[in-house]
């Protein structure tokens, strides 16, 4: 059933509406587990749209297998999605920096508060992202280390290539995931693909993980696929490769994946002088799980992340 979570009247005869689709069993026992799936916080991140569609389609094909409640929030930032804008169009504001929101605050904070209040009570929440337009990510789950004990068992069910546990930095406090975790709703951040695109194979991979998790939690009794165990970041080291020069990044690798130590990752070139400004090689043998997509780089721009095991 499609419901309105929170809405705001826009100046000229239009409403901004946050919608959710609640899927639940025909006969309720009152003991159903509840999963919330949120996406569309950034208007340029679109993989979550396909994931939402596919969950609803599969559930509708086999409603008899649904034993719990699934709340799907496909557009946390509907104006951003409709206008192809990462942030909230009128304010240039990052929707994922205003949580947990404020019922008496500005529009974005009011909306954020409405969303958070609606999700509270879920047994688990997935916050699905698609990186941004600058870098491409392999399917991964990201956890703040202070929540990792609680979240890692869930993260391992997600069929992700990689689980990245990172130390907390302050800015994350204003995200949906951080806020929900601190309000008692275990929340995983899923990152995959690149902005403004849908990477079908990544979506399918994560969908298998979502259905597997729902089966483990007793929400779904239908068929699921075996999931792969992810690489856990704390078992090795993550190396960041950044631009040392401003220029144009030309990737030397077709895709993410395994690289040898010293493998050529790409070059930063200077088109007007016809020379290479920076030659980038992998500092370790490992897996490239992030790679630059947008070639224009300023000094400091992220070019790649490589994970290397401890051996």
């Amino acid at each position: 059933m499609i419901e309105e979570v929170v809405s705001v009247e826009l100046p000229v005869h239009e409403r901004l509406i946050i919608k959710k689709n609640r899927l639940e069993p025909k006969e309720m026992t009152g003991r159903e587990k509840r999963i919330s799936i949120c996406t569309g916080t950034h208007g340029d991140e679109l993989d979550g749209q396909y994931v939402c569609y596919e969950i609803v389609r599969r559930i509708n094909q086999h409603p008899e297998c649904l034993k719990g409640i699934i709340d799907i929030y496909p557009s946390v930032n509907p104006l951003g999605l409709d206008t192809g804008t990462r942030g909230i169009p009128m304010f240039d504001l990052d929707m994922n920096r205003v949580f947990p929101g404020d019922n008496n605050g500005a529009m974005a904070e009011y909306i954020a508060s409405g969303i958070v209040n609606d999700i509270i009570g879920s047994d688990i929440c997935l916050d699905i992202h698609s990186s941004n337009i600058f870098v491409k990510e392999v399917p991964q789950v990201r956890l703040n280390e202070e929540d990792s004990d609680k979240l890692l068992p869930f993260a391992k069910m997600m069929n992700a290539d990689f689980v990245w546990i990172y130390s907390s930095i302050t800015v994350l406090e204003a995200t949906l995931a951080y806020s929900l975790n601190h309000m008692g709703v275990p929340t995983l951040v899923v990152e995959m693909g690149v902005g403004n695109r849908i990477t079908n194979c990544y979506c399918e991979q994560i969908l298998d993980g979502i259905f597997h998790m729902m089966k483990e939690m007793g929400i779904w009794t239908g068929d699921t696929k075996e999931v792969q165990p992810p690489i856990i970041s704390t078992e090795g080291e993550v190396r960041f490769l950044s631009a040392m020069e401003t220029g144009i990044f030309v990737s030397a690798i077709e895709n993410t994946g395994t690289v040898e130590m010293g493998a050529h990752i790409g070059d930063i070139i200077d088109p007007i002088e016809g020379r290479i400004l920076q030659h980038i090689e992998s500092p370790i043998k490992g897996i490239v799980f992030t790679i630059r997509e947008n070639p224009v780089v300023y000094k400091g721009a992220l070019l790649a992340r490589v994970y290397g095991g401890r051996n």
Binding site: E9, P11, E173, V296
Partner: protein, 311 residues
Amino acid sequence: MKKEVLFSLKGLYREPFEIEGYRFGGGEKSACIVGAMRGNEMQQLYICSQLIKVLKELEAHDAISHNHEILVVPSVNQYSMNVGKRFWALDNQDINRTFPGNSEGDTTKQIAAALFEQVKGYSYGMQFASFYMQGDFIPHVRMMETGYQSASLANLFGLPYVVIRKPKPMDTVTLNYNWQMNGTNAFSIYTNSTDAVDDKSARQAVSSVLRFLTRMGIVKYNNHSGYIASVINEYDLLAVKTYDAGFYRRLKNPGDPVKHGETIAEVIDPHEGEVTSQIISQTDGIVFFAHTAPMVMGNEVVYKIIRRMHE
């Protein structure tokens, strides 16, 4: 005065991005003043330009006290200002949401880290700031409640109000917050304009900084004593919201007294021209913040009122 480049970043085809600092006096790091950090902060840049002009004259007349250094950084983001963008032009990141920065992080984090390295360690830090809500304020000094804030020091600016704000998660990555956590007494100074230059309030801001510097013995300058400020907690301000969306007719300005039950704004249907709702004050008080845009959304904060305050 010593003009120097505090940070430089090569552009792709643009001239290098440079953060320029203007150093007055010498010796102990006494006061640092930072202006426009976002591309739309014209007023903040203008205030700094006027302040630099006065400080040059004071230095020429030997009116900077011995063993006191003042650093003024008028613009941190002219790359955005020059192309009509509010945030960092390539990736839309807000520099004032990346402090204390990271010298090995993304471009904006590198900028923040380089700036913070230059501006930290001063006894007093002042930033001409802008607010994320569109509207006019009574000129005031704002401090974060970090445990290190000192309202009595803020009073020395001689502005009518000192506002103490309990930091939200998104505030913890601002310059002001990080200054305070690093031992600098940090103040944000708000005038009643951002995108346009308001000469009168710019003069008031310049005077307030000179008043503060004089009272701290950093400069020798004779100006009016200003106000003994009323110290208010941001959470004690009454937020007045709209019911409907449409054209907005503001009936009160910042600083105006209001009576309980008085009509303080009207909302007009954008197609039919009828007044759809009147906004009624729920308290006696003084208008502290007033919405400025010609239109409003539903449930939008249009006023903040200092409760039970009289002229």
